[in-house]
């Protein structure tokens, strides 16, 4: 096999894995949009907040330490213990569920029946509010997530594949963290789909997404389902936060990954879980291939804009995205 071809394969694999990371973020959007028609701008900040909370809990940081110290004149910052990763993850899930309840109770319950644009504006407010709370609660330092996830290129794969090409081919470089993310994403998506297809609450979720009145008439509490959906989105945000946080550190720019999810959603459609996955993969691969093949000709850095342009092109020809529900108006 020629070296060029092998490089292409490597780019392809890495693109797929980058795509998985985008899909993780896009999933959270799809969950909420499907069930309640809300485009949740705060999804990226939720990922940040979840990652901050996880890191803070693990390090035994005192939440709102700054505030407490300012009010009571104390000087506390740490509880002086370290929480094991698994327990910390469970606690963080708990925090995200409380957040879901609060969002429903204090914001969206009062906005039932409002225009989509109003709901969208509310999520913008929510995003900045949550970012502020995250700052106040855990401080603004960059944190590292010491979950013990493998990092760096996989030596094993490099060694195994080194022999495939010529002398100047050193084997595929594949990030171990990306591989973990891929496995996690596959498990996450499979369980989400199984949950929504084969369980009572999954069925209720789909029912609410489809028709509110009919859902009420069979005894489904809309409020409960919306809390459930926001909790699930919070959980997905936590997973995305862990993966992205492990990759680039838990810092406030993490919330910007929401912007990366936008083209994924436009491509895959806002209402399709498989769409979020395939959309993410297409953008991941497309981005890397474009940079690899066309990038050198036009000065590189195409990854910054390629996804948006691709989404734009798709929008022109298929406004509902590749997997979105086709909108048919009968007159």
């Amino acid at each position: 096999m020629s070296t060029d071809f092998l490089y292409l394969v490597e780019v392809l694999i890495n693109g797929l894995m980058a795509g998985v990371m985008y899909s993780l973020v896009a999933l959270g959007f799809v969950l909420i949009f499907k069930a309640s028609g809300i485009f949740n701008y705060a999804q990226g900040v939720m990922a940040l907040f979840a990652a901050l909370t996880l890191a803070g809990v693990m390090e035994g940081q005192v939440p709102f330490a700054h505030l407490i110290n300012a009010v009571f004149g104390t000087e506390i910052h740490h509880f002086g213990w370290h929480v094991p990763a698994l327990l910390a993850i469970l606690l963080t899930v708990g925090v995200m569920v409380i957040f879901a309840w609060a969002v429903q109770r204090f914001v969206f319950r009062h906005l039932v029946g409002q225009e989509p644009i109003i709901l969208f504006m509310a999520t913008i407010g929510l995003a900045y509010f949550l970012e502020g709370v995250g700052d106040l609660m855990w401080g603004s330092d960059i944190k590292t997530l010491a979950l013990g996830l493998p990092q760096g290129g996989s030596r094993w794969i490099e060694d195994m594949t080194a022999g495939m090409g010529g002398d100047d081919f050193y084997g595929f470089f594949i990030d171990k963290l990306d591989m973990v993310a891929t496995v996690v994403a596959i498990i996450l998506v499979a369980s989400l789909i199984a949950f929504s297809q084969y369980t009572k609450h999954g069925r209720a979720m789909r029912a609410v997404a489809d028709d509110h009145q009919a859902a009420l008439s069979v005894g489904i509490s809309l409020n409960f389902i919306w809390i459930l959906v926001w909790s699930l989105a919070g959980f997905v945000a936590l997973v995305a936060g862990i993966m992205w946080g492990a990759k680039s550190g838990v810092q406030f720019s993490l919330s910007l990954i929401a912007l990366k999810a936008l083209p994924v959603l436009m491509l895959g459609g806002f209402t399709s879980i498989p769409g979020a996955i395939v959309g993410g993969l297409i953008i991941g691969v497309g981005e890397k291939l474009f940079e690899f093949s066309v990038g050198p000709l036009i000065g590189g850095a195409t990854e910054n804009w390629f996804a948006y342009v691709l989404a734009l092109v798709v929008l022109v020809f298929r406004p509902q995205g590749l997997f979105g529900e086709k909108i048919i108006e009968r007159v």
Partner: protein
């Protein structure tokens, strides 16, 4: 409660029991408009009770009051002898009151089977966590409820479309699927809002047969709204007639048919 609360047996051998649902002095307003004006009537266990009246009489509003979609400003609702506090529609549904809608409210993106399964939601008790792993109780429940749903599907003769997404079905079949979903809940009271609206003669006959069979075989109490007078007279044990939010008649089909006020309302005599 009163003398009429004693059970009796109809000509065709069905037993009509005591009062299941009692509406007392219900008044419903939308701003300044009184949609329902001080109406009282009851629904007895095992009967088919029709609510009829011209367009805009307040029939659907009445059904919405029973099913909790509207809360009346005045009056009391008694269900199974107990006063029902103000409730959300989903809470009413959980008490065993199932309904269909005039304009069909189905989950269009889901299959017929899934739609009908939603009718069983309140019979499934396994908690969120157990369901998430779908083991033990949750699994057993799913299978039991699935069996029940299959019986309803057989009963309403919709086996052939079990796996079809509802959005693709013709109107008449959608109406039948909606009935199936309501029926799957094993309701104590089944509310049908114009079950035959927009159907052709053949579909109407099918639907009438199903309604009678449901009442006969499961003993389900049914309250229905219908425009087609012929159908109403054939199906129902007792009829409430509404006009401009008032009750103008209440009794057996024959009594109602000969009621002068009812005849006037339907023939369009000028109101005072």
């Amino acid at each position: 409660m009163n003398a009429t609360a004693d059970s009796y047996v109809t000509e065709d051998g069905r037993t009509i029991g005591g009062v299941l649902m009692d509406m007392r002095n219900i008044t419903l307003r939308f701003g300044g408009v009184e949609a329902i004006k001080n109406i009282s009537f009851d629904i007895r266990e095992g009967e088919i009770r029709a609510i009829i009246g011209p367009n805009g009489a307040g029939k659907s509003s009445m059904l919405n009051v029973i099913s909790g979609f509207y809360n009346p400003q005045e009056g009391e609702v008694f269900f199974r002898g107990e006063r029902r506090p103000q409730m959300k529609p989903y809470q009413v549904a959980r008490m065993g009151i199932a309904r269909t809608f005039q304009n069909i409210a189905l989950f269009e993106g889901m299959t017929v089977l899934d739609n009908i399964m939603t009718g069983r939601l309140n019979h499934m008790k396994a908690g969120l966590f157990r369901q998430a792993i779908w083991k033990g109780a949750a699994e057993r429940e799913e299978i039991e409820n699935r069996a029940h749903v299959e019986r309803v599907i057989d009963f309403l003769e919709i086996q052939a479309i079990r796996k079809t997404p509802v959005g693709r079905l013709p109107y008449g079949l959608k109406k039948r699927v909606e009935l199936a979903r309501a029926l799957a809940a094993d309701p104590k009271l089944l509310l049908l809002d114009e079950p035959m609206a927009g159907m052709n003669v053949e579909e109407k006959e099918d639907m009438s047969r199903f309604i009678l069979d449901v009442n006969d075989q499961f003993g389900t109490t049914i309250a229905l709204i219908e425009h087609d007078m012929g159908v109403v007279m054939d199906l129902s044990d007792r009829v409430v007639v509404m006009d401009y939010g008032r009750k103008i008649g209440d009794g057996s089909p024959d009594e109602v048919r000969t009621n002068q006020e009812v005849i006037d309302a339907y023939l369009g005599v000028a109101h005072d």
